[in-house]
Symmetry: C2
Subunit: 250 residues, 2 copies
């Protein structure tokens, strides 16, 4: 399954969700996470730092290296296609060629046989890299922060998904919305969850709670399920994994 | 004073800081806040929504309307140059013309006489709009979230500032770093503050505490100082305003 993790809004937990989910899925089958953010938080969160002479997503997208030359296996068994600041040049360069929106899809085509799961961590903003990920994906998972204005960001992303479904990738499905950084005892979280659950267009998964263990596990370079066994943090992730497995069977 | 509020990392509090600071500064002198994010959170946070026939930052940057035609006065007396999703086309269109990095500076030139303060709220990511804001600014204020990895995002932004200072705008100064969403009792916040305070290259301002009153005031479309008089929230802002006034005298 090719899964894009996208939301144009910044800091809503895209990278954290990719790390958490990727870590768990790699226990079930070979899993690749692709860092599409020049800020490289996914790469850093797996304890990887590209040297200035090491190729990453930029060199790979622009055809300078092969997939085999750029994918790394991390300590936890999760495979990583890393990114660094060079990736900010990719959008400029891709736009000057034809087929700019399908570059990622073409580059990833060979991976479908190799990896059971490919997760693509999108940068904030509605740039070319996010559009590429949505054009390449079977499904999109939308992390939504439990904050006022979360829903505004969600409707912006849904417009983009609709646009991609019509023009670039009719087989793109919304996997669902993952509420993040939930503080269940606050009114703000309850309001956001109520508003999300009231709409009927897509599944809303069990929220990921706000917990310092998430940034701690990123700092340790470990997936959350190896960092802690706190059940209130792992349960929503395990349920999401089960949901993904059911989608695979369809 | 032309002040850019920038950090490539998403969700660190750029828009919240712009609203809070802009609201206070408008009590001291005419103040304009410019929304440079196609997601328009600054615009929404002041209770404004652009109709499909109403011009915003996109039409203004691409020269289709004048500054006078696009600036709105909001209920609190703060002036707003609003944005909506159209702005995502601006980067593409500007890149096809010469002087792409100075478009904002040229468009804002007339405002120096009209407004005592012009605050530019940047989008996340290192795109053309952020570079334009840094090329137009006298100062840049850098909100930094009290989270692990905050410092990595900070060093990315400092590289960009350095690049702009050398190539585009030698008079750009760093006003300082504003720690945001501080939870003073947590180790994570203390670690980030210690790391920030240990470096000597720029001022580190008193942190903005994490408080549901910030998103509430955004939802109400009001600047924070009109929404609450809670001193622990207003003190850091008042100190920052004093610091800005001292810079003006230099
Ligand atoms: N459930 C959580 N509990 C506590 N902190 C969290 C949680 N999820 C994410 N965070 C923290 O919030 C910050 C933003 O999260 P993250 O980087 O995953 O968001 P993002 O959407 O990928 O951001 P960007 O738009 O910049 O790519 C990070 O510092 C992260 O460690
Ligand atoms: N001090 C604070 N206390 C509580 N919530 C806050 C605080 N500052 C910001 N927030 C909330 O955190 C979220 C992100 O803040 P904000 O939108 O200001 O960040 P940003 O850097 O402008 O994001 P983007 O990169 O998407 O432009 C918002 O929902 C906002 O209401
Ligand atoms: Mg991210
Ligand atoms: Mg913002």
């Amino acid at each position: 399954m090719f899964l894009a993790i996208a939301n144009h809004k910044g800091g809503v937990g895209k990278t954290t969700a990719t790390l958490a989910l990727g870590g768990l899925l790699s226990e079930l089958g070979t899993c690749l996470v692709v860092d599409l953010d020049p800020q490289g938080n996914l790469t850093t969160g797996l304890g990887v730092e590209l040297g200035s002479d090491q190729p990453g997503a930029y060199q790979w997208l622009t055809g300078q290296v092969t997939t085999a030359q750029v994918i790394q296996k991390t300590a936890s068994g999760l495979y990583l296609l890393p990114a660094d600041g060079n990736l900010s040049r990719a959008e400029m360069e891709l736009l000057q060629k034809s087929g700019a929106f399908y570059t990622l899809r073409d580059r990833l085509a060979g991976c479908r046989g190799q990896f059971r799961y490919v997760l693509m961590d999108c940068p904030p903003s509605r740039g070319l890299l996010t559009i590429n990920a949505l054009a390449a994906a079977d499904y999109v998972l939308i992390p939504v922060q439990c904050q006022f204005f979360a829903l505004k960001g969600l409707s912006a992303l849904l417009e983009t998904v609709d646009h991609v479904q019509r023009r670039l990738n009719p087989k793109l499905h919304i996997l669902g919305v993952l509420p993040t950084m939930a503080e269940m005892q606050t009114i703000m979280t309850q309001d956001v969850l109520n508003a999300l659950n009231a709409q009927k267009n897509f599944p809303v998964f069990k929220p990921l709670p706000k917990s310092v263990k998430f940034p701690e596990s990123n700092l340790a370079g470990e997936p959350i399920h190896r960092y802690t066994n706190e059940s209130r943090l792992l349960e929503p992730l395990l349920e999401l994994v089960k949901f993904i497995q059911r989608q695979e069977k369809l």
